[in-house]
Symmetry: C2
Subunit: 361 residues, 2 copies
Amino acid sequence: MRTALVIGTGLIGTSVALALVRRGVTVHLADHHPEHVRTAAALGAGTEEPPEGPVDLVVVAAPPAQVAAVLGDALRRGAGRGYLDVASVKGGPRRALEAQGLDLTAYIGTHPMSGRERSGPLAASADLFEGRPWVLTPTRDTDTEVLNLALELVSHCAAVPVVMDADAHDRAVALVSHMPHLVSSLVAARLEHAEETAVRLCGQGIRDVTRIAASDPAMWIDILSANPGPVADLLTDVSADLDETVRALRALQSADEAKRQGGADGVRDVLRRGNAGQVRVPGKHGSAPRAYEVVAVLIDDQPGQLARIFADAGLAGVNIEDVRIEHATGQQAGLVQLMVEPKAVGVLSGALRERGWAVRQ
Amino acid sequence: MRTALVIGTGLIGTSVALALVRRGVTVHLADHHPEHVRTAAALGAGTEEPPEGPVDLVVVAAPPAQVAAVLGDALRRGAGRGYLDVASVKGGPRRALEAQGLDLTAYIGTHPMSGRERSGPLAASADLFEGRPWVLTPTRDTDTEVLNLALELVSHCAAVPVVMDADAHDRAVALVSHMPHLVSSLVAARLEHAEETAVRLCGQGIRDVTRIAASDPAMWIDILSANPGPVADLLTDVSADLDETVRALRALQSADEAKRQGGADGVRDVLRRGNAGQVRVPGKHGSAPRAYEVVAVLIDDQPGQLARIFADAGLAGVNIEDVRIEHATGQQAGLVQLMVEPKAVGVLSGALRERGWAVRQ
């Protein structure tokens, strides 16, 4: 790949462009907001000049609802040898392109699974996709040359290619992203009018469950509008489980011992299925979560405390696999939970205690 | 308070005993598992010898279902001047005690909001409750002397006392803990039989939403069995919202523009209410979450990398407020997100870049 045209210079498009430029590809930038193109070009993501002829790869990084129109236009004017989009849903854009009666052998739908806490070209980075899955949805008709251009792009972005059917992709992201997002919002929504005394009792559990409910509604309306069917199907399944759970809890209130037992069995079933599903969530390095042990250390809130803990752990030769900081309610103090390999617990606890830390293991 | 009897020497009971011993209180330990008492005594949590007469405070740290029986027994034999329990629900035990026809002026129901990832006396620590809310549920009939004994205990444990009505407490923990726990299990349950390709696409969002679904079902059956009514009520509310959300998503699939608009409005409403609730979840130090900015740094997975980052941040005089580590799928690399005060972003990014870190801001 020697030349590319990136249409849409928001976070994703500009990040792709930066990664391509880093690998020596000549990148042309386009966006219907000229100031976005200028910003992206100023960041070194490519040139504002239009290409003189067809480029090797056209990358459409427009919002889901606009992808089919922008791609159709590029295809009709023969802007490139290959075409891909990076929208977070894949079935709808493909069907909309098919409805335009276009030859889609030079097109491949893709989706980089990167975090998107921020938006716009200023948040872009050539490293945005590093190590993340990047879904490719070729069909039997996709040109091998175009598939290879897409794989080259994914490689330049240091992402991990995953090949899927477009509709399977949409069901998958509904499962691992869109459905959990709405459920998180529904749990958080229960707090909107809750009494302050109750809200004070929130701990790390609800904090984690509701974290993603803080996201920008406008972006999520776009995403959900492009994938309503699979998300509605999954929420319907969740709703059926939820109603079953309510019935089990009501049975726990029964005066009848057998009914109470049935209720307990129902609740246990939900909890066990939750265990079985949770253990499948990939942890570190995409593998099943390893069983780390926690070494907890009390700190007060002065600059440098965490630095000293990590430095002391480093001196002890222990690798901290993960960190969680729990802050105390109403106090300038917190509990740092250091996740380490089980065999490192003794070494780390000993080393930290020796250096005067309040270790709670 | 000079003497106490702790009945039930699991994680909570032993931790309370350790905190009291540290403050010079003579603690007697009892448990229907003699080996637990021996372990707790060996840890320095008190003596296995029974008290010679009534103690100042009897602390019952038995599972919710057994609290009323154990407390009733202690009250009838006049084991102390004051009595409290630490079970995670408060309405049921009180009603069970009232049903025994006992004078409850010397009793106060309490609930320390500590994390309980582990159990048993070996996991106990005098610091377990430090900075955490500790709910007290006095009634109009509770002796002031007994309330003061409870407040003294909470102070010895370095916890933050919060006074609530027993039933309000049960509704509050249903809201901030029990309901979110079951919802997390229901989301995780959807992954149990999902295709491996879909599960590979999991990111930090679903990882956070399902984290608490990994908990021990046996302990949660106990907790939920003691509070089924308020939890069922809340899940019923969530279910109604969920069904409304499904209807909105289905409307988004409509051929009718007005219906689609109505669907988008419905989804936006859920997301906005989620925003409004999430912002109330207390962050650091129990206050509303402050707006931290993220400085992201790419690391590979060698011991000492985190230590060096924190040390470098410390040298730059920047306090890291929170940390999140995102690990890349299938790669021995990760992204460390350092949360800092907005004004510290420039200083930290500059300092880290200067020292050769791959900062992605």
